[in-house]
């Protein structure tokens, strides 16, 4: 008779199936263990037995040419796959991965992306969301559990484990699962909502698995154990011929793939497996696993007590009053609830109800505060020193040595002098790491706005960052490469001009000229198509700052100047037409943007642009359709810069107040006199322009405009208002012309030429 492999259908990351699997492996004692997973990981399996390997860990598969094309396969200590590896390694049995090669899946993913750029983001998320995540969505065991009346899959497994404890052989249970799966697969309409593409994908994967199983059966004499997601059992027990299988996988594309171990965290574990939908809770699973894997078989009492004790401890950490006595009561209640609901071991639902009632006095806010810590846990994996490091970690270590920075969890402050090579190098590293979300350092004081050469950073390392570093592999194999492509990727995703300008700045301080150029080009392209002048104006300010004050780094100055010129020209051209018909909030934003832009343009020092801008200001004042606050601002600038004389300003002022609706006139005046009381007090011309205009009104017009003034001056504080009043009461002071000074003081006259030279005033 033909020899058969033993199929063990498991639930990914299910401690219940892990425990059952352990029992089954002990009972079967197979000569070889086959596990669902990409064969490229075969070489990595041996490291799993090293003492320094602390799950959660992930195997990372990435395309050698393009690291962005990557897939993670995470393992927790309670993952059946991890348990199977450990079992085989401890006994020196061969163990292998039998899923389709990552070379194929990543190649297909790449092809899919190129084919359909629109669905890019989705496809990527789908592919990099590992195999387990994929299976979790259609975990048939959860369906089975639901049919059996259990609230979730793990509670169901609890039941199975108990049966096993009650004398049933784990092999029999797995055989029963196999039968159930075959049955379930016969009714594809039931819950199977997979698309045709997904079906094809499954078929190909199963063909690979069957081929691997056949090889193993040929190679080894003893039993062969196959650990796969329960859903695949149906596909694997279908009788097919070698030729058929070969036909299915013929001509699949392949790319070169590298594989490596990377640390992982509980938070990512629950996310990758679709936390929220199936509620995968590492904290709870770990607790279950402790129960199953412990040497002595703890009863349900100890199990419930352990969990409630942990809940109580977390509550106390949050400052709630949760006594040991209450934890005991919570454990008893959980057990009573379990027996009321007819299950032998309390599940997560029973534990939660009991904690809520006994420990939290019915207040679910208390429970909500600790839920994340309790359910998800915060464990972070560690990798043994002997394991070859993944490229980014290697590069990181190189940088650390080069810059003499050491990852230390103790927060400390470092001051960098950017004029020294060492300081610049450190700053570059920290900036780059921030771009790939490894926030080792936080820039406390950049002073960059003033163009100084100092940076103060607060640095503190956390284990979580090694996980982020691993995740950053999708962007590149070195830190420089990863930071650059992360920046470019973000630039492609945003269409806000201000954000792009920020990215340009980030790229520059992180010394990524290529990425900066790309961002600059994108910014230019976006600006042309952008209708919102406010955005364009806001983008100019930070760029001008960079050019004007420098960043102690090499700058692509020509490009930047060209960009600023282009943006400014855009703003100048669009500002007048763009200043009609904005709602209140947009108007306010525009006003602020115009202020910043006006200031920046002055700093930039391009006279052509400046002249055009001022011409536009004048045009806006005369444009009847412009919004009142913007006219007020423009007129004020014209006055401040001395471009219009008093008469012109006064006429314009009068024109925009009299006969206008109160709201429009009020907004105009408000913007015109904006600033502190000091401005009004010092700028005599401005004050008396208003004063004289006001005095010249006839009574009706005066009464009409009074409330508007009240509103416009409401922004001043009471002291300021009083001082303005005093100033007006004091009357117009005739300022003596400056030259009169020289007439009276011959010493001053002698010093004048030199002073003029120093101040740069042409004589």
């Amino acid at each position: 008779m033909k020899r058969q492999a033993h199929l063990f259908g498991i639930r990914h990351h299910g401690p219940g199936s892990a425990a059952l699997l352990k029992g089954a492996l002990d009972a079967l004692d197979p000569a070889c263990v086959l596990i669902e997973g990409p064969p490229e990981g075969d070489a990595l399996i041996q490291y799993a037995a090293l003492p320094g390997m602390k799950p959660p860990l992930a195997m990372l598969f990435y395309a050698a040419e393009e690291a962005a094309n990557a897939a993670f396969a995470p393992f927790a200590e309670f993952s059946p796959e991890w348990v199977a590896m450990q079992w085989a390694l401890a006994r020196g049995r061969p163990v292998r991965f039998i899923d389709w090669p990552a070379a194929v899946s990543l190649a297909l993913a790449k092809a899919g992306r190129e084919e359909d750029v629109a669905a890019d983001a989705e496809a990527e998320a789908d592919e990099s969301g590992n195999e387990a995540g994929h299976a979790a969505r259609l975990d048939p065991l959860d369906v089975l559990a639901g049919a059996a009346g259990y609230s979730d899959g793990e509670t169901f497994w609890n039941g199975l484990i108990e049966q096993y404890g009650g004398g049933q052989s784990p092999l029999d249970i797995f055989a029963a699962i196999e039968t159930a799966m075959m049955e379930l697969r016969k009714y594809p309409g039931g819950y199977d909502d997979r698309s045709a593409a997904e079906r094809l994908r499954e078929e190909r994967r199963e063909a690979f698995m069957r081929i691997h199983i056949r090889d193993a059966l040929k190679q080894y004499d003893g039993e062969v154990a196959v650990v796969v997601g329960a859903w695949h059992i149906g596909g694997l027990s279908t009788a097919t011929t070698v030729a058929e299988d070969r036909a299915i996988i013929k001509d699949l594309p392949k790319i070169k793939v590298e594989a490596t171990w990377a640390p992982w965290s509980d938070g990512r574990l629950s996310r990758a497996s679709g936390y929220g939908a199936g509620v995968v809770s590492p904290g709870w699973y770990r607790h279950l696993w402790d129960l199953y894997s412990g040497d002595r078989h703890d009863g349900p009492e100890a199990f419930a007590a352990g969990w409630q004790a942990r809940t109580a401890a977390l509550l106390r950490q949050e400052g709630f009053d949760a006594s040991t006595a209450s934890a005991i009561e919570a454990a008893r209640l959980a057990l009573a609830l379990a027996s009321l609901r007819g299950i032998g071991m309390p599940g997560l639902a029973e534990m939660r109800d009991a904690s809520l009632s006994s420990l939290c006095h019915g207040d679910d806010i208390q429970l909500a505060m600790i839920e994340r810590k309790l359910y998800i846990d915060s464990r972070i994996g560690k990798i043994d020193k002997a394991v070859p490091q993944m490229p980014l970690a290697k590069d990181f270590e190189l940088w650390c040595r080069k810059t003499r920075l050491k990852p230390d969890e103790q927060p400390s402050e470092i001051k960098l002098d950017l004029r020294s090579e060492a300081g610049l190098l450190k700053s570059t590293l920290l900036h780059r790491l921030n771009l790939i979300r490894v926030n080792w350092g936080r820039l406390i004081d950049a002073e960059a706005g003033r163009g100084t050469y100092r940076e103060i950073w607060s640095v503190s390392w956390s284990p979580d960052m090694s996980v982020r570093l691993a995740e950053a592999l999708v962007w590149g194999l070195t830190i420089e490469q990863a930071a650059a492509s992360a920046t470019v990727e973000r630039a492609h995703k945003t269409d806000g001009i201000a954000q792009l300008a920020e990215l340009v700045r980030y790229a520059l301080v992180a010394d990524l000229p290529q990425a900066a150029s790309t961002c600059i080009n994108l910014l230019q392209a976006t600006a042309v198509h952008n209708n919102d002048i406010t955005d364009v104006m806001n983008a100019v300010a930070p760029l001008v700052r960079i050019v004007r004050y420098g960043t102690a780094r090499k700058l692509p100055e020509l490009e930047l100047r060209a960009l600023i010129t282009a943006l400014s020209a855009e703003a100048n051209a669009g500002v007048r037409v763009g200043s009609r018909q904005l709602d209140d909030e947009a108007t306010l934003q525009r006003l602020n943007a115009m202020r910043a832009y006006d200031e920046s343009l002055g700093l930039f020092g391009d006279s052509g642009l400046l002249e055009e801008w001022r011409r536009q200001l004048a045009l806006m004042v005369d444009d009847a359709q412009s919004l009142a606050p913007l006219i007020g601002f423009s007129l004020r600038r014209l006055h401040d810069l001395g471009l219009w004389d008093e008469l012109q300003v006064s006429a314009a002022f009068s024109r925009h107040v009299l006969g206008e609706t109160p709201s429009r006139a009020g907004a105009f005046i408000e913007a015109f006199v904006a600033g502190s009381a000091d401005v009004l007090i010092q700028d005599q011309t401005l004050l008396f322009l208003i004063d004289e205009w006001l005095c010249g009104l006839d009574e009706e017009a005066f009464v009409e405009s009074l409330p508007l003034f009240r509103r416009a001056l409401a922004g001043l504080d009471s002291v300021g208002r009083k001082r303005v009043l005093e100033r007006i009461a004091g009357g117009r002071k005739e300022r003596r012309p400056v030259r009169s000074v020289s007439e009276e003081n011959p010493a001053f006259e002698r010093a004048l030429p030199l002073l003029k030279q120093i101040l740069g005033i042409s004589a």
């Binding site: 006595a325 209450s326 209640l333 009573a336 609901r341 109800d353 006994s358 006095h361 207040d363």
Partner: protein, 360 residues
Amino acid sequence: MSEALLRRPAEEIYSAELEALAKGDDRPRPTNWKLSPQAVATYLLGGDAVDGTPISAKYVGSRRLIETAIATLATDRALLLLGLPGTAKSWVSEHLAAAISGSSQRLIQCTAGTDENQIRYGWNYALLLAKGPSPEALVKTPLVRAMEEGTLLRLEELTRMGSEVQDTLITVLSEKTLPVPELDIAINAERGFNIIATANNRDKGVNDLSSALKRRFNVVVLPSPGTLEEETQIVVKRVYEIGNNLRLPAIQPADKELARIVVLFREIRDGKTLNGKIKLKTSTGTLSTAEAISVGVSAWAEAAHFGNGRIDANALAANIVGAVVKDPVQDGVALSEYLETVLRTRDGWSDLYEAIREVV
């Protein structure tokens, strides 16, 4: 005899259901329990008895909450039902006691005037003077009787009695014993004894639950009905039950009108319309489900005795105004705002708008 009673206790009204449940109940029962915990759950939440007798749902809402409550009683922990006014706390407590102990009559109504003697025990002073302290001279309270017979004791509105009186319960709850120092004896509780207390977590100004006591209770918070459908279902069911029990003259079914009460109450209670588009002033009245039920019953009585035998807008109006307007100034404003901004323009509600305006 009991036909003449104004309101019959739960165990009498539902005696047939309790009997049917007990007959087919072969699951283990805690000592002195009339039913197994599972059967108690079925009694409260509805379902079928083993012999097929349909069991009506006494509580409409979360199954998990009721299961927690029953499991609490099955351990020897006391149960505290917390909730806003009108969330069926006393109702659940009555039915739990009826199903578990067969009687919901062991009850102490806690008030500010309740003293320790009403909780623990009192003395028959004539006997005390004549014969001196003896067990015969002891006047037993419902607590003592419940302890001796191993039944449930209900404490209504626990927080309305002073906290020093509340503390009388501490030893009873933790050590299940009540010392009588005058006689140098202690009354020890039989298995099956337990306490169900109810308290309102909205009313401030009454005593807080002492923290020593709080730790001795498992707390189950009964929520307001989550959805409009759920609340309407509760109101309709209860209005018919109460009306029939009061022997109100039969009227035409009025589910639609009752649903309108619920909508109106929910909107004013939540301070916004159901679709969330209009913000409203809230009233000082609690406008709980229980009040909606009593408005429904009153409207029924009015329609049956003075109206045309049909609950219509006119029958509802006065009762609704009575429930909403507790503070004549503030609530009057809230109601008239609601009338003008919501009811006036709502399709098919113009009759109610007119009727309420007339009353106001």
